[in-house]
Amino acid sequence: MLIKLQQEDGPELRGRIKEAACALFDANGFDNTTVADLLVQVRIDEQRFYAYFRSLDELLEAVWSEL
């Protein structure tokens, strides 16, 4: 594998996913953002993403409502 995957877990990773999502939503708009874009940014696999958020929609809700 070319990209070394992140191994961290827990609230820290959740926070990083939200931060990356925020940057992507701002740059490309929510409708043009995919889970695949996010996985590249955060350097995690799909399985780990879905362990934290059920969907991109749920992630958006979290980014939006949680400070």
Binding site: C22, F25, D26, G29, F30, D31, D57, L60, E61, V63, W64, S65, L67
Partner: protein
């Protein structure tokens, strides 16, 4: 879902109006993006396009409440005849009336939650800077009538409004009734000395605390 194409300004105003109702009925903490979405039949991405966070949306709701209130008071002052002191009393009486209305109370209660402290201070600041010019104009009228002497009416209005708003805000200080009363008792004199107004001319303030 039927999508209606709307102008950005209208859409923004719709979101603010719906959120205002939701925050009041459900409480700010428990209102979600999905609630706003269901209410307006728009996608979450659309909401995000206009407001990057729930906090930003609350701020817009607050600004809109403050602007409505400002328009209302401006119209009131413009429609009033009388001396500067009479008009000031009417303006203050209208403010006291307004803050007893239910909608206002609910919003204020939300603002007094610790999580909303930053927002609360920003609303106070907004109210002060928005309303100060109305008071300043009445101070100027008083100067023309020869009853006040004030060199900087606008700054004086900002100073007095900030002091009174802040010091009487139970959400910020949590005074005991006695502590609050001690401050109220001093305000008329403090205002009179700022404006060099006749002694007792602002005693009416205590009626509207």
């Amino acid at each position: 879902m039927v999508r209606v194409v709307k102008k950005p300004d209208e859409r923004r105003a719709d979101i603010i109006a719906a959120a205002g109702q939701l925050f009041l009925s459900k409480g700010y903490d428990s209102a979600t993006m999905k609630d706003v979405m269901d209410h307006l039949h728009i996608a979450k991405g659309t909401i995000y396009h206009y407001f990057k966070s729930k906090e930003e949306l609350l701020e817009a709701v607050i600004t809109s409440v403050a602007e409505d209130e400002l328009r209302r008071r401006k119209a009131l002052v413009d429609s009033m005849d009388g001396s500067a002191l009479e008009r000031l009393e009417q303006l203050i009486a209208a403010g006291a009336d307004r803050s007893r209305e239910d909608d206002h109370e609910a919003l204020l209660e939300d603002l007094h939650k610790p999580a909303n402290a930053g927002m609360h201070i920003r609303l106070l600041a907004k109210v002060v800077t928005m309303q100060a010019p109305i008071y300043a104009a009445l101070f100027e009228q008083g100067c023309e009538e020869g009853i006040f002497t004030v060199a900087r009416p606008l700054e004086c209005a900002e100073f007095l409004l900030s002091g009174i708003q802040f010091l009487t805000d139970m959400g910020i200080y949590g005074w005991t009734p006695e502590q609050l009363e001690r401050r109220w008792q001093a305000f008329p004199q403090l205002i009179e000395s700022q404006l060099k107004a006749p002694q007792g001319s602002f005693s009416f303030l205590l009626k509207y605390r």
